[in-house]
């Protein structure tokens, strides 16, 4: 089996070389062969629009500047969240035609790629990543004790954003909200005092709800209760309490069209002043930055999701290293670059995320991200998220989303959803 693989790859490589020699500039075959393990590094990622695209462009530029001799073939695959990207990766891995590297999440998420990821422990060692990155990154990029990927940046997930003028109109002080029940009270106040939607939600996909469940559980059950859930021994009462809070919010305080809109439209409600609060990862701030006349603190604000103060729900954007790599040496070059300061600064400032390195000068970042980086550094706890791969496996995540789809998308069956969630993660 390995033999045929090698053959096919060799042929492809040959074809690529020929293509490069004769017909440079044609997709898929371009790039200058750079000696052993050479050929362009083919990078699959899903940043095809908006700030993601800008960030990816910045990343490409930075790479070409630093490694002008190494070919880079950025292959963005958009659509459906990261679904299409994942499908393409899956297809190519299954056909034994892996790309050089692809963007994905580390942590238990790596389990789905069991058997097809290569070892980059030596790289971590040589580049000193184990020292320069936060401990969680060091832990979560290993699978079976060896490093499989390199992080590029981190988003924060336990965020609550608000439209300043709406909360002021309602007379709510967001910073005073320190528990989920306080949040619910504040939503009630917004609902009675203003015409705005208290909390905007875009549930056309299930992932936003699963993600909201994550922070709600963290907010109600605390770090330990949350970690029990993530680690496979959930307390049914904790889960139920979280769902009850969610049900209260969904039944009374979200927008009418929540079920048919996505994150983008939902977030637009904050920008337009149609809604008071939204929970999202901090990528939501990218849209605020791009909106005209919508400034941090004067127009929109941020606080940690009520009850999760002092914590930073962790997320990583990383590049995974497939075994049978078509360009092993150049891929390593790419990964070393990704984990370095230049790449992390270039990418994250546009993406709205923060570096995973602890030694990065944040001066080029905006005030919001600087604040986020401080929170990150100061956080007491950095629990892994559940919807974006760090806390649970892909299978479990899929089961959770099935449960949300089946039991918790209106009407909200707290009992059934609780049972479903507990079953899904219990080991």
């Amino acid at each position: 089996m390995t033999d045929t693989n090698t053959t096919r790859r060799d042929v492809l490589k040959g074809a690529g070389g020929l293509g490069a020699a004769g017909l440079t500039g044609l997709a898929g075959c371009t790039g200058g062969g750079g000696g052993e393990g050479g050929g362009s590094v083919e990078v699959l990622h899903g940043w095809t629009g908006g700030d993601g695209e800008t960030a990816a462009d910045a990343l490409t530029e930075a790479f070409n500047e630093e490694y002008p001799d190494t070919g880079l073939d950025m292959n963005p695959i958009g659509g459906g969240g990261n679904e299409n990207l994942d499908a393409v990766v899956a297809n190519r891995l299954q056909n034994d035609d892996p790309p050089s590297t692809f963007a994905n999440w580390p942590g238990p998420n790596l389990a789905r790629y069991e058997g097809v990821l290569g070892d980059v422990s030596d790289l971590w060692e040589e580049a000193g990543f184990t020292d320069s990155h936060v401990q969680e990154a060091v832990d979560l990029h290993q699978y079976d004790g060896t490093f499989r990927a390199v992080p590029l940046g981190s988003h924060r997930l336990n965020c609550l954003f608000y439209n300043t003028s709406v909360v002021e109109e309602a007379g709510v002080d967001p910073d005073s909200l320190d528990s989920v029940s306080a949040l619910v009270d504040a939503l009630e106040t917004v609902s009675t005092e203003t015409d705005a939607v208290p909390m905007t939600h875009g549930a056309s996909g299930t992932w936003t709800t699963t993600q909201l469940f994550g922070v709600t559980l963290l907010g109600t059950a605390g770090y330990d209760g949350y970690m029990n859930f993530v680690e496979g021994s959930p307390s049914r009462d904790d889960v139920q309490a979280a769902f009850e809070s969610l049900a209260t919010i969904f039944e009374s305080y979200i927008n009418d069209d929540a079920a048919s809109i996505g994150l983008t439209e939902s977030n637009q409600n904050i920008i337009d002043g149609n809604a008071a609060f939204i929970h999202q990862g901090n990528w939501a701030a990218g849209a605020y930055r791009n909106a005209e006349d919508f400034e941090y603190e004067s127009d929109w604000g941020f606080k940690a999701f009520p009850g999760t103060e002092g914590m930073y729900t962790l997320h990583f954007d990383s590049f995974l290293f497939p075994a049978n790599n078509p360009t092993p040496e150049n891929t390593r070059t790419w990964l070393e670059f990704v984990g370095g300061e230049a790449a992390q600064v270039a990418f994250n400032q546009y993406k709205g995320s923060i570096p995973t390195r602890t030694d990065v000068d944040m001066s080029e970042f905006g005030p919001f991200l600087q604040e986020t980086a401080e929170d990150f550094a100061d956080a007491d706890r950095r629990p892994p998220n559940i919807q974006h791969g760090l806390g649970i496996t892909a299978d479990q995540r899929s089961s959770l989303n099935d449960v949300i789809s089946g039991e918790f998308s209106g009407p909200y069956d707290v009992e059934a959803a609780t049972d479903g969630f507990v079953d899904a993660v219990s080991s």
Binding site: M1, G79, G80, G81, E83, D86, A87, A90, N91, L93, Q94, R112, Y113, E114, G115, V116, A203, S204, G205, T206, D256, D257, A258, A259, S260, I261, A394, D395, S398, S399, N401, D402, V403, I404, S405, G406, S409, G410, G420
Partner: protein, 356 residues
């Protein structure tokens, strides 16, 4: 006349390269001439006479003896397509079944040495699969029935000797030429919560707005409605052909018997459309099973709107989103069995009618 004919015959013979001789001579000459003429026949005859033992000819003859005269001669026509279909359809289904018995997931090839029914056990206990099965059933049945009824009404209306019949027919069948993907775009916009035609139209009557796609209780029916829009024209065409096949005398006889128009259709015409109904229903059910394309396009992703997950979408999601190949294969087998429960009786019905 006779002279003319005999000269004609002589000319014919000359054309065939023979001398015109006396009748007797001509007759004798016939034998040679004919074998020279029918070269193919001659060779085949010789072959048959010698009856070679064992050779390919013998094998082919034996095959023909067993399966029928033209078996080997027609094989080049039906065998390649049959093998292609056999490999890609039936071979694939068999392989799919074997995969469903493994534990295959992720990217390390299936282990065929350890086969069991675990995936089926898991499917039976998976509430998402059960929901999807129920949704599939509801979708198939509701869609088929509604499309049949609407299609029949359309056909009867169009069959009223109306003017511009072709134009009406063309319009009603138009959506059928669109792909599921295109239809999904149109109906996503039709069902838009804030500014879709449906909600605006209902709003005129003080109803709504209704969250057609977002409400899990409604979305399946909204999907059915959109699919009916797309395919009722197809049913119309099938029924129209059926109606046109009924002799006018039947209408006239019913009229003479004093039946009202409604009675006439209900008692005389509709019962004669049984064949059309069966063939249309089968095709509609198959379309319904293919609703994957539509649901995928609604959300541009593997997870359809809540409440609209069917086996087709669940299977593809399990396979290509979470890479649970074996589990997806097991779901595919369930779906296949559902399809089989529809087509099995249909094929038997066709066989019974002598159409197979």
């Amino acid at each position: 006349m006779r002279e003319f004919l005999s000269t004609a015959r002589s000319r014919l013979r000359r054309a065939a390269g023979r001398d015109a001789g006396s009748d007797g001579d001509a007759e004798r000459a016939d034998g040679d001439g004919d074998s020279a003429l029918a070269t193919d026949g001659g060779t085949a005859e010789a072959g048959a006479d010698v009856a070679p033992a064992g050779g390919t000819d013998g094998l082919l003859d034996r095959l023909d003896d067993r399966f029928g005269e033209d078996f080997t001669e027609s094989a080049p026509f039906w065998l390649p397509p049959f093998l292609l279909v056999g490999l890609f359809v039936y071979g694939a289904i068999a392989w799919n079944f074997v995969i469903s018995l493994t534990e295959y997931k992720g990217f390390v090839g299936p282990d065929y040495s350890d086969l069991d029914l675990d995936m089926y056990v898991r499917a039976v206990g998976d509430s998402a699969v059960i929901d999807a099965t129920v949704n599939t059933f509801v979708l198939v049945v509701a869609f088929t029935i509604v499309a049949l009824v609407i299609g029949m009404l359309l056909a009867i209306l169009v069959d009223q000797k109306i003017r511009f019949e072709n134009t009406f027919r063309t319009i009603y069948l138009l959506p059928m030429s669109l792909s599921f993907v295109v239809t999904a775009q149109f109906w996503l916009w039709m069902y838009n919560f804030n500014n879709g035609v449906v909600n605006i139209a209902l709003g005129a009557f003080g109803i709504g707005p209704v969250d057609w796609i977002g409400n899990p209780q409604i979305v399946l029916w909204a999907v059915v409605f959109a699919l009916v829009w797309q395919f009722s024209g197809y049913t119309m065409v099938v029924y129209l052909a059926g109606l046109r096949a009924i002799p006018t005398e039947h209408y006239e006889a019913a009229k003479v018997d004093g039946a009202s128009t409604a009675k006439m259709y209900w008692r005389v015409i509709v019962p004669q459309l049984k064949g059309s109904t069966i063939s249309a229903a089968i095709v509609l059910m198959v379309f319904a099973l293919k609703a994957f394309d539509f649901l995928y396009s609604l959300v541009s992703g593997y997870r359809p709107p809540n409440g609209a997950d069917i086996l087709a979408t669940k299977m593809v999601r399990e396979a290509y989103s979470t890479n649970n190949w074996a589990y997806a294969s097991a779901i595919a087998i369930v779906l296949f069995l559902m399809a089989l429960s529809i087509i099995g009786p249909y094929l038997y019905y066709e066989y019974d009618k002598g159409n197979l």
